[in-house]
Amino acid sequence: MSTKNWPLWEIFVRSKNGLEHRHFGSLHAADAEMALENARDVYTRRNEGVSIWVVESKHITASNPENNGELFEPAQDKVYRHPTFYDLPDEVKHM
């Protein structure tokens, strides 16, 4: 019997119309179509979704946690980048 493993896929599910697709997890499948069917069975069997995206994991380029210092720490002490220093008129409800 062949023991070659199926590639890994990342699964994104939109739980309601109007919401964005969210990362739900990953699973194995031979191709995109099978990944969709597997995702339907593994992640939406309790009525969790209205839409599924699948992306083969190898197509995702991820940042390296070792680089977190240079990538993210410089932003920690720059509160002025948040737009929290403006006085908003009361009429503006959703900012």
């Binding site: 062949s2 199926w6 194995h28 031979a30 099978m34 069917e37 597997n38 069975d41 593994v42 069997r45």
Partner: protein, 250 residues
């Protein structure tokens, strides 16, 4: 009690019950986590359908028996499922072949049952058909994958189709209850589904690079309660709790 209607409902429901039990056997034993869950989902869909049918049958019986009594407390000869659905999970190719050969029939059957003059049955059919469309999509995809897959998967898929082919003709046999219900506009005339069924199956086998078995003689008997050796073992699993602890509930 409306004997014919009762028997007719059981004839439909027992197929789903026994196939559901077979698919449920793969829970925790599927070839991969993903297919394991897929098979178990199909099993749960089928059990859900069975409940609707048996609840209705219990009402039709009018003698106080419940859906559980009907599911769990009959003897082997009283089960009316076709022989196809009781065949074992010899390997994954058999599981898929059995599922597809039944799904192709089930889908066509439910599509006709939706037109039944019995409103309960047509409502159940209407609810089940979406589930069964997915079952058919799943199983036909896998027939293609295995048939048109590796040399080994093709050999195994062909073997499963060849072995199970002998059970397909029975799907289109009519029992006395069938004939009576067709006459009343309640039942589906399964003899009329046969031609399209074999067309659909032949087309898929061709797509899957598989050969259509050439067979002149077919097995039958399940609908009359005469089963293959496999059903007894299946029922001893299915009924174990009710037999060991009568009237238990949980």
């Amino acid at each position: 009690m409306k004997e014919n209607l009762y028997n007719y409902i059981l004839g439909i429901a027992d197929n789903s019950l026994i196939l559901g039990q077979r698919m449920g056997e793969l829970c925790g034993h599927g070839p991969s986590l993903e297919t394991d869950i897929a098979c178990t989902n199909i099993s749960l869909d089928l059990f859900g359908q069975v409940r609707s049918y048996f609840q209705y049958a219990a009402k039709v019986s009018g003698d106080g028996r419940t859906e559980d009594d009907i599911a769990m407390l009959r003897k082997e000869r009283d089960y009316k499922n076709v022989l196809l659905v009781e065949q074992p999970n010899t390997n994954f190719a058999y599981t898929i072949a059995r599922q597809f050969l039944f799904d192709a029939y089930h889908l066509a059957f439910l599509s006709e049952l939706q037109k039944s003059t019995d409103l309960t049955l047509s409502a159940i059919a209407n609810k089940c058909i979406k589930e069964v469309s997915y079952h058919e999509r799943f199983s036909s995809d896998w027939v293609k994958r295995l048939g048109d897959g590796t040399e080994e998967s093709c050999v195994k898929m062909q073997e499963a189709i060849d072995d199970l082919w002998t059970y397909t003709d029975e799907l289109f046999h009519q029992t006395e209850a069938d004939k009576a219900m067709v006459a009343e506009g309640v039942g589906v005339d399964v003899t009329k589904l046969k031609e399209d069924y074999y067309k659909r199956v032949h087309r898929l086998l061709e797509e899957a690079t598989l050969k259509v078995p050439q067979l002149k003689w077919f097995q039958k008997g399940g609908k009359e309660g005469i089963h293959t050796e496999h059903l007894g073992y299946l029922l001893s699993d299915l009924q174990y709790m009710q037999r060991a602890y009568p009237n238990m509930e949980w």
